[in-house]
Amino acid sequence: MQGESPPVVDEKQPPPPAEAASAVVTKSWYDPLLKFFSSVHVAVITLIILAAISIIGTVLQQKNIGDVNDNMRLFQQFFGDAGRAQRAFDISEKIGFFHLYQTWYFYALLSLLSTSLIVCSLRRLPQTWKIMARPKVELEESGFKASPNRRTLTLPLSRAEAAATVVAALSKGGFGKRESERDGALYLFGQKGAYSRLGIYVTHFSIIMIFIGGILGSLYGFKAYMQITEGDTSDQIMMRGDEGRTATLPFKVRCDDFQVEYYPGGQRPKDYFSRLTVIDAGQETLHERIEVNSPLQYKGIWFYQSSFGDTGRGLKVSIRAVDPKTGAAHDLVFTGTDILDVPGTGVRVQMQRIFPDFMQDEMGRPTTRSNQPKNPVAAVQVLLPDGTSKLTYLFKHRPDLKTVAGLPVDLTFADFSSIQYTGLQVVYDPGVWVIWLGCAFMVIGLWFAFFSSHRRVWVRLREDGGATAVVLAGNANKNRERFTEEFERLGDAIEAAGGARS
């Protein structure tokens, strides 16, 4: 693509305007600065330093993402000595390694990159614009000679007829046309895909846009968290990254319901969602069901399903008791450690304890891993008519598991519910649209910069004893092999249409 072949014309970067001017005017104070920022080497080195320094933040836990104290363990592992580890920890904290991406020097590097990007682009843009908008129509003989693609034809036509043939072929190939007359020769010039030269500027501009979007978001936006218990209404949010500062939303949100479903086996949540109602100025203005990957938006503020939990209140456990003799089933609904009768059997059941997320500890004792109802197990005391009692465990997900045999009634864990709360991430980010626009520009810019090329064709027509001598030259700034084929086709078309004799 970017072959080593010498370019036909004007591909070389001319001296930038500032340097050209410096021959006449004395150098101004900002010249060295301008020179520094417009250097590609500075830009590339900045990219590499940014990449290298970013690594630190991926190795060390960062504030607001991970637990900074984990870094102490890491240092201890690395140094094997508590004193040195402590020193390393203190130094790292001091120079901002635990919030690397918010440090002044990280911002300084980003600013250096932006400045370099802007200066580089602005200094090269006028030249690019000149190549695009004011192309050199009359190519010199040396230009024709040096061209990587060249074709000479003699058409048995008058110059005007030959010109018409060439113009027709050019326009059929999609090349825009310009012409000029000098020293008895007619020069034609056609180009297409000139805009592809702007692709890289669009890409550079898009990076600045993304930075602007990020700055807007951090200046005028906020990220917060709110927790609403089922049935409750709230407008209180807890700001993130700002130890415990609370704020009040301009409207209220009510959590009507929260549900979580697990995949069989019980540990992996399949789906969890909240039904929310927005209450603005006393009016219910919006009802929506939100879940992960499906947020709610009201007045520019977004609510994302982020976490959930159990309040431990309003516990309701339903145990199904079946009398094997009669087949009669009874649902016993417990709201505490109450004792309930199984009608017609003389058996009574007492709820002992509920384990929402059952597990056994090291000693083999039953306990619960969390408050989430991932694997609910009920410990119930079965009080038999003869005055004895038996303790049994009922597994909601494993109704086949029986810990005690020979009970006069068949007990299964039917249902479990309690009042839950939903955890919502609350975000307001006015810069996010600038970010997406920037991303779109970036992808479009890259597409033009890489996959379309500026293709140019120069033609000189000269009358030559009743016939017309035609010389064609052409080049492309990218994808040159493809262009060579196109150029050959163009030559063939002119040759065929003009009835050439070579």
Binding site: Q2, L47, T58, V59, I65, R268, V292, Q425
Partner: protein, 352 residues
């Protein structure tokens, strides 16, 4: 027929294709060359069918999702993308000499994950955060980009080895070191696979049995062997330098190819990062959180951006950009695999 039988079939076909491409290169026999391409294409068809079948199997299990959601599935897709990009390249440029790079890389990606005993190959249900169409776009764009970078890496290693005129050339050493690393992985994968099939008593994991062995003696011997193998390649490679160079397209073409692959990979990686950010924003309300995976993808992006600028604007060619391509690929591998095992974060599916 189930999907894993088809995956195994495609794996074997890629191995056969690797051998065939080598024979084609050594003897310039067109018939063998066409055969190599056919075998690769057949392997690709089998792999595509396997991915489709696995997709269907997930629906049969009741939690259907596109098979792009865990380490195993993404590695398979990486292999698939490498072969896809190579086959397109072979068709467009009518040159099959790089099959000798693409086929073994495609094989390595799928085979190494198939034998890794600590990686689950089960079809698993998706946690709510992954239940999104963004997952599909994000993974496909990222991995097509990774695949293009992989081929660029392979071509660059070849370039570094062939471009050297002296054995002591640092670029040659980098090239050889990369080649020996890849060959060791390749050999280890095949050996592991063979041992696993025979069901022998040998520890089926070469790495665990050598470099990571509990016995310091085995450890030392392993390292000495590794250095020895490297020295052998380094020495012999230089002896047969001329003959090797004659097998492959010219250096200018290799250089150009490596660059073209970066040009394909870079916009795809950009799209991968952008779709990832869009997804994160939709799921959690944060488009960028400096999570290690995100940061490493940015590091990779910055390295390839440096590559493009060095080449486009600063006029770097050949060995310099080839080394950048090798570094970029190392960053790709770390972004994809290293982050999951070494660092922690949102994408920690590999540690499960």
């Amino acid at each position: 027929m189930n999907s894993s039988a088809l995956f195994n079939g495609s794996m074997v076909l890629y191995l056969v294709a690797t051998v065939a491409y080598f024979i084609y290169l050594a003897f310039r026999n067109e018939k063998v060359g066409v055969g190599a391409t056919l075998v690769t294409a057949l392997g690709f068809v089998a792999q595509t069918a396997a991915i489709g079948l696995r997709w269907k199997e997930s629906y049969d299990m009741g939690f259907g999702h596109i098979p792009l959601s865990n380490m195993y599935e993404s590695m398979v897709f990486w292999s698939w993308s490498i072969i896809l990009i190579y086959l397109i390249f072979e068709r467009v440029y009518r040159n099959r000499s790089l099959g000798v790079i693409a086929a073994p890389l495609g094989f390595l990606a799928i085979a190494s994950i198939s034998i890794a005993s600590n990686i689950s190959q089960e079809i698993e249900p998706l946690v709510p955060a992954l239940q999104s169409n963004w997952l599909t776009v994000h993974v496909i764009t990222s991995f097509l980009g990774y695949a293009a970078f992989t081929i660029s890496f392979g071509v660059s290693v070849l370039y570094l080895i062939l471009a050297a005129d002296k054995r002591k050339d640092a670029f040659y050493v980098v090239g050889m070191a990369s080649l020996v690393t890849m060959l060791t992985l390749f050999a280890a994968t095949i050996l592991d696979f063979a041992v696993q099939k025979i069901g022998g008593t040998v520890q089926p994991h070469l790495f665990a049995a050598s470099f990571a062995s509990h016995s310091p003696g085995v450890k030392i011997v392993s390292w000495i062997a590794a250095v020895g193998i490297f020295a052998l390649f380094w020495y012999v490679g230089a002896l047969y330098h001329e003959r090797l160079a004659a097998l492959f397209p010219g250096l200018r073409i290799l250089d150009d190819l490596s660059y073209k692959m970066v040009m394909v990979g870079f916009p795809l990686l950009t799209l991968g990062i952008v779709t990832g950010a869009a997804w994160a924003n939709y799921a959690w309300g944060t488009y960028w959180s400096w999570d290690p995976k995100e940061t490493w993808s940015l590091i990779t992006w910055l390295i390839y951006a440096a590559f493009l600028h060095a080449r486009f604007t600063a006029g770097w060619r050949g060995k310099n950009t080839a080394v950048l391509s090798v570094i970029g690929f190392a960053a790709v591998v770390f972004t994809y695999i290293g982050v999951n095992f070494v660092l922690s974060g949102l994408h920690s599916y590999g540690s499960a």
